[in-house]
Subunit: 223 residues, 2 copies
């Protein structure tokens, strides 16, 4: 049973990788940098994006593709904050976005209007690690309420990512979370990870995040 399941899964993955290459080519041709935001449910991805759109959305021509299991609440929230393009994908119960859904989302977007495209993946620290969406990089959003051991418990996600945003820094005084240990655990599974420490709610650390996005957009080079 186990062997069979893995074989089928690998065939589906291979097809996803082919589609993801097409997505990546289309994004490159349009000069768009795509970041795939992955996290647990409730880590604060949507608020982070709301504040990012409010702060630098116009300047950096930011668009968003949201992936939700059932609702399009996130897309509705984001649409209030920007006249940039927001495209909702409802996965209908599936636990991750896939490259086929990204192709459909790109068809629905005006790619000439965008410079940075965020993909807000389904809240899930396991499955989205395995699905290439044609992004330039995966960024893990991890909140300080989740515990510093998450990089060890969900290593594939941290191996696949290039950046980690440690969010909800305003709650640090109230939770048993050792931030240095979290960073050390994450570097244990992926030594090249880069970190941001922010509170999307209070704005703490958001300037560093905006600066990174500006440098990404201006340089146009892989970061």
């Amino acid at each position: 049973m186990t062997v069979r399941r893995i074989e089928v899964r690998e065939r589906v993955m291979e097809r996803n990788d082919v589609l993801a290459r097409d997505v990546r080519r289309r994004l490159d041709d349009a000069g768009i940098i795509a970041y795939n935001l992955v996290s647990s449910p409730g880590s604060g991805k949507t608020l982070l994006l709301e504040r990012t759109l409010a702060g630098v959305g116009e300047e950096l021509r930011i668009g968003v593709v949201t992936g939700d299991v059932q609702t399009q609440n996130d897309a509705d929230r984001l649409a209030h904050h920007t006249d940039r393009l927001v495209q909702a994908v409802v996965t209908g119960g599936a636990c991750h976005l896939d490259a086929l859904q990204m192709q459909d989302a790109l068809d629905a977007l005006d790619l000439t209007a965008l410079r940075i495209l965020f993909i807000e993946n389904v809240g899930n620290l396991v499955c989205p690690a395995s699905w290439d969406l044609g992004e330039r990089a995966k960024i893990v959003v991890l909140s300080v309420t989740e515990g510093e051991d998450k990089p060890l418990k969900y290593p594939k996600m941290f191996q696949q990512a290039r950046h980690v945003i440690i969010n909800k820094m305003d709650l640090l005084p109230y939770v048993p979370f050792d931030i240095e240990r979290c960073v050390a655990y994450a570097r244990e599974v992926n030594p090249s990870l880069e970190f941001f420490r922010v509170s999307a709610l209070t704005g703490q650390g958001m300037e560093d995040w905006f600066r990174f996005l500006k440098e990404s957009a201006w340089a146009g080079s892989p970061v």
Copy 2:
């Protein structure tokens, strides 16, 4: 591609359901009540279980099967707190426990020593909703830091569950979380849900939870 994936998934699910029936029969024969704890990563399942084992583990003859993607950190933490049996299942990257793994876990446990068996599922609000493990009931652990909209965003999990433990109540003053709205959203997708409001960290509300477990153990009837 989508149709094919669903068909394969359904065949795998059907086989899981057959195995889950066998697990349920073995648990019933041994007089064991099993609760499947499901949640996002970092909701506090392990600390809740640590405190539960410390509080009523001996009295209620509680054992635990932990499901982790890679590590057995949770099982090691729990083993410090009890001489009840703790059995670790490492899913090797899979995003949920399945009934086959439960069968293996039961083989490794002394079922005659147990009255209540907790299954600490992989931290994931999507996939474990679809996998019957032979449990009496699923219990969602939701922390107040995750946002009150989670029942709407991950409805299948809340439909499948019988109880919700709202955890980290000690953080309520510091987060934008409307607990009444959360309860209303959850009842929107499943009107029969029952709630506990606890802080495993401070002990707040834990007596209600222990009382429920005692009543479950003493009655021996489905709760």
